[in-house]
Structures are given as C-alpha cells and as structure tokens.
C-alpha cells in the first residue's frame, strides 16, 4: 500500500501536474507549479514567498492549534475584524454622516435595503470583537504568555485593545439616535477631566501663559473629540472619519506588527 502511494501521485497531484505547468501559474507561484505538487522544501518557500502568508510561521507546532489552550481568541478577534471591515464597507454605501440623513439612513439600511441584517451583523460583530479581544487578553495573561520574549507583543496587544475600544466608541455615535448622542456626550465629557488637557482636570490651571489660558472649554481634550462644545454634526463627521478611516488604518498597522511578532517571538506560546 505504502509503496503504491509513493509511486503513483494522488488525484490532486495529477490535476496539478496537468493544469499547473504553464507560464501563468509559474509566474504566480514562483516556487514552481501549483501548491499540490510541492515537496517539503517548496511548501516552506511557498509560505515565505506569499504576501498573505509571510506573517505566518512556516510551520506550526502542534500545540498551536489546541483550542483548549489558546481558545482561538486571537484568531477569532481577527476574523471578527475582517467581518466588520467587509460589512462596514457595505454599510458605507448607504450611510451619510450628516445630521439630516444619518438616522434615517440607518433606519433605511434595515428596512429598504436587501439583507437588512447587514447593520446587525456589523453591530453584533463589534460586540463579539470586543469580547474576544478581552478573552484573548485574559488567556494570554493566565497562561503567562506575556512574559519574555513576548513582553513587547503584550504592549502591542494592549494598544490593539485600546484601538478596539475606540473603534467601538466611535461607531456608537453613528446611528445618531438619542442613545448614541447622550452616550457620546457622557463619554467625551470625561475628556474634560483629563490631567492638564481637560479644562476641569488636575493641572489645567497651570496650562496658561501669563493671563492667556491654553486649556479652556473651547480648547481642551473634550473639545478636540467633539469638534465643538456639544455633540453636533461636526462630532458626527469627526467620529465617522475616525471610525471608517483613521482607526482602522492604525489598528491594521499594529495588527501586522502583532502577528509578525507572534512568529518572531517563537510562535504561539504553548503549555510548558
């Protein structure tokens, strides 16, 4: 049996040999032919030469796929991020971030557009992402995976957690209903109490040159967030841009570093 298998290629190998040996396939897979024909070394090279896989380790230790240890929470966080990206882009086709249109656009996305569930997928996906990021962090903490050599990646992870929460926060305003407006009012008002940067915060009185106050109600941390003294149309636009462009851009950079460091720090941590 073993001998036969060694001599005769399997069905995928046969298909691969007949389909994969042409100039187009060879130009895409520089390692040579379709992946089905690759030997051990070529498979390694295939991973190294692939832009999507190069963040990924060439080989995975067996423990890395043990759900009981990792809970797969890091992978699920990334998966929910992908879902949120796709549904978010689709929602942008129908949503206008203006005081006149925002709320009714949000309602229409549920009622007048096919797959009215799209916004709910985005909303529940966001809740799930926050949850899975927290659980991922909990797992990493409980398994001691934050210890050297992974201490830098833990810091990157904390930044990613913060960015996730900021994405959740900025997205909260976009429905532009009473819940959103007052939630963001409460949230941004906390900025008033920032040390030195909020006009009600400790040290704010120190932030002045002579008689000129540098931090006051029209120029402090909360004002920067709201683009005004209260949550208005300017706040909506600001949060929209941050939610759709700014924060996703930053979080993707940190995610790339995070994944790359997982590999460079010795792969996914395992039971000792």
């Amino acid at each position: 049996m073993r001998k036969r298998q060694a001599k005769r290629p399997g069905i995928f190998q046969q298909i691969g040999q007949s389909v994969g040996n042409n100039v187009i396939v060879r130009s895409i897979f520089r390692t040579g032919g379709l992946p089905v024909n690759w030997d051990r070394r070529q498979r390694m090279m295939g991973v190294l030469n692939n832009v999507f896989l190069h963040l990924h380790p060439v080989r995975l230790p067996k423990h890395a796929v043990k759900v009981k240890y990792t809970w797969c929470m890091g992978g699920l966080s990334f998966f929910t991020f992908l879902v949120l990206t796709i549904t978010g882009i689709l929602l942008m086709f129908y949503y206008r971030p203006t005081a006149e249109h925002a709320y009714m656009d949000m309602v229409d996305i549920g009622e007048q557009v096919p797959l009215g569930i799209m916004r709910e997928i985005h909303r529940w996906g966001a809740h799930l992402m926050v949850l899975s990021v927290w659980l991922h962090m909990f797992r990493v903490f409980m398994t001691g995976s934050y210890k050297p050599p992974r201490e830098f990646n833990w810091v990157v992870g904390v930044i990613l957690l913060t960015l996730t929460l900021l994405l959740s926060f900025t997205g909260y305003l976009l429905p532009w209903d009473q819940l959103a407006i007052w939630a963001i009012t409460v949230g941004t008002n906390m900025g008033r109490a920032s040390p030195f940067l909020g006009y009600e915060g400790p040290g704010a009185t120190l932030m002045q040159i002579g008689d000129v106050k540098l931090v006051h109600p029209a120029a402090d941390a909360a004002f920067v967030l709201k683009a005004g003294r209260f949550v208005g149309e300017a706040t909506l636009l600001r949060f929209y841009v941050l939610h759709c462009i700014g924060l996703p851009f930053i979080i993707m950079i940190f995610m790339a570093v995070h994944f790359w460091r997982v590999r460079k720090d010795g792969g996914i941590s395992g039971p000792t």
Partner: protein, 276 residues
C-alpha cells in the same frame, strides 16, 4: 525508563508502558500487546528469496532482523518496532528490553494513521467543493444583492404635468426640467414632452426663448423648438416621451417610453397629445 522498578509502578503506568512495548514481555498485562508480540515472532519466510518490496514492507513493520541490510529507510511511524524479533524474545528471560533504550516516541498505531492519510483527501475535497460551489457564490450573491436597494429616493419615471390648457401655444414650459428632466411644449395642434438630454453627449441644453432654440452649453449643439437639431455636433433630434391624459384630465408623462424622430416615431400614438 529501564532504571525504574517495574514492580513499584502504578498499574496505569504499567499498562501504558505495555502498550508502548516498553515492558518486558512477561510483565505485559494487555492481551492485545501479547498478540502483537506474537506477531513479531511469526515465520516471515526466507529473507534472501523474498521480493525487494516485501522486504521493504517487512522492514517497515520491524519484522526483519536488524543486521540484515535493508535498502529502505524505515518510516517514522514504524520506528519503535524497528528492533528485531530475536531481541524481543530475549526479554522473556527478564533482561532489560532492548527497545527501552531506543527512541520510542511516535509509536503505537501505524494502521490508524495510515487510514487517515489514505482517505484524508475525501474530506479535503468535500470541504473545498462546499466552499467553492456553495460558500463563495452565496456570499458573492448576497453582497451583489445588497448593492441594489429595494427603494429608490428619486423622482418617479412617470408623473402628472397639470392640465393641457395650462400651457401656452408656442411656448416651452420649463416647470418639470429640474425634477423630471422634461420640457413640455405646445403648438396650435398638439402638446409634446421633450427630453432634456442632449443627443450629443448627454448634457442638459438651455432653452433660449429670445432665439427660440435649445442651446447645449457643452459643445454648442442647437435644437429647434420642436426638438429637431440644426447646429453643432448633435447627430439627431431630442427624444420625446410618452404623453397622455389621465382620468382627471391632467397630462401624464411617462419617461419609460421614448420616441425618436429619426425612426419615424414622432408620428406614433402618444408621442404627442392632440389638443387645439
């Protein structure tokens, strides 16, 4: 392992070791393990006379004496059984099992692993089939459908344009130009609805009442009051829309139906509304 006292081991550990073949044959409690040991001592025939492939197979299964030069490299799954049957027999005397000193790691059930390897492509193939034929088209269809809303927030293609007598003979009415893209003109014999789309490249011409012509600002095409082109690059007259009377006596214009003069359609019914 060999240093440990077998008598002092816990039963479960002894059982496990027995499975791995790390115990002297005499101590093995498991009947199955005993039968495996019995297999290793079966008569395998004349080694010299057998075919190379059979010898290779036997070597893999560990049924060949180790001193025999084996042409094939033993596979990893068969590694623990690599030792010779004679060596196994010698353990019956109570000496330390030679296997114990070897590296015994990925042992036990090569047959099971083999099965998985052989039929693994089935689940792989079904998985990919389901993904390629089911998942991707389903998602693509959903996303494509999402891009076509069920409700349009734009003016309807058909609208009521007031009563025929509201219009002046010889004038062009621009009331519905902005919203519906339609001019309504009246002659002494009929009323007609002109499209405001220039037949050159689709701009919107202006009605110049002083010169009594439509003039397109983009490339200078000119149209008579009737819609017939006479200057500039426009290749054909403006199009007319379906026009009729509703039950309440109002004019109805339907932009879904158009009439082109160069096709002789301006003579058709409802391309104009007879009204004197």
């Amino acid at each position: 392992m060999s240093e440990e006292n077998i008598e002092e081991m816990s039963p479960s550990k002894r059982k496990m070791l027995a499975k791995l073949g790390k115990l002297p044959a005499g101590d093995q409690a498991e009947a199955s393990t005993e039968s495996e040991m019995a297999e290793t001592t079966e008569d395998i025939g004349d080694i010299e006379e057998m075919s190379p492939s059979r010898r290779k197979m036997l070597a893999k299964l560990g049924k060949l004496p180790s001193d025999l030069p084996s042409k094939s490299r033993p596979s990893k799954t068969a590694a623990p059984a690599r030792k010779t049957p004679t060596a196994a027999k010698s353990t019956a005397t109570g000496e330390v099992h030679p296997l114990v000193s070897g590296k015994i790691k990925r042992s036990v059930k090569p047959k099971l692993e083999f099965k998985v390897e052989r039929r693994g492509w089935l689940s792989l193939a079904f998985g990919w089939l389901a993904f390629l034929l089911g998942g991707i088209p389903a998602f693509a269809t959903m996303i494509l459908r999402f891009l076509f809303p069920n409700v349009l927030f734009e003016p309807p293609q058909s609208f009521k344009a007031g009563y025929p007598d509201d219009y002046t003979i010889g004038a062009i009415d621009e009331t519905y130009k902005e919203k519906y893209g339609v001019w309504i003109g009246r002659t002494d014999k009929y009323i007609y609805a002109l499209s405001t789309v220039c037949t050159h490249l689709g701009c919107t011409p202006n009605w110049l009442s002083g010169e009594s012509k439509f003039k397109c600002p983009c490339h200078g095409s000119g149209f008579r009051k009737t819609g017939v082109n006479f200057e500039g690059p426009a290749p054909r007259p403006l199009e007319r829309h379906w026009i009729g009377l509703a039950d309440d006596g109002q004019i109805i214009v339907d932009k879904n139906i158009k009439f082109q003069r160069e096709k002789g359609q301006w003579e058709s019914e409802n391309s104009y509304l007879p009204w004197t």
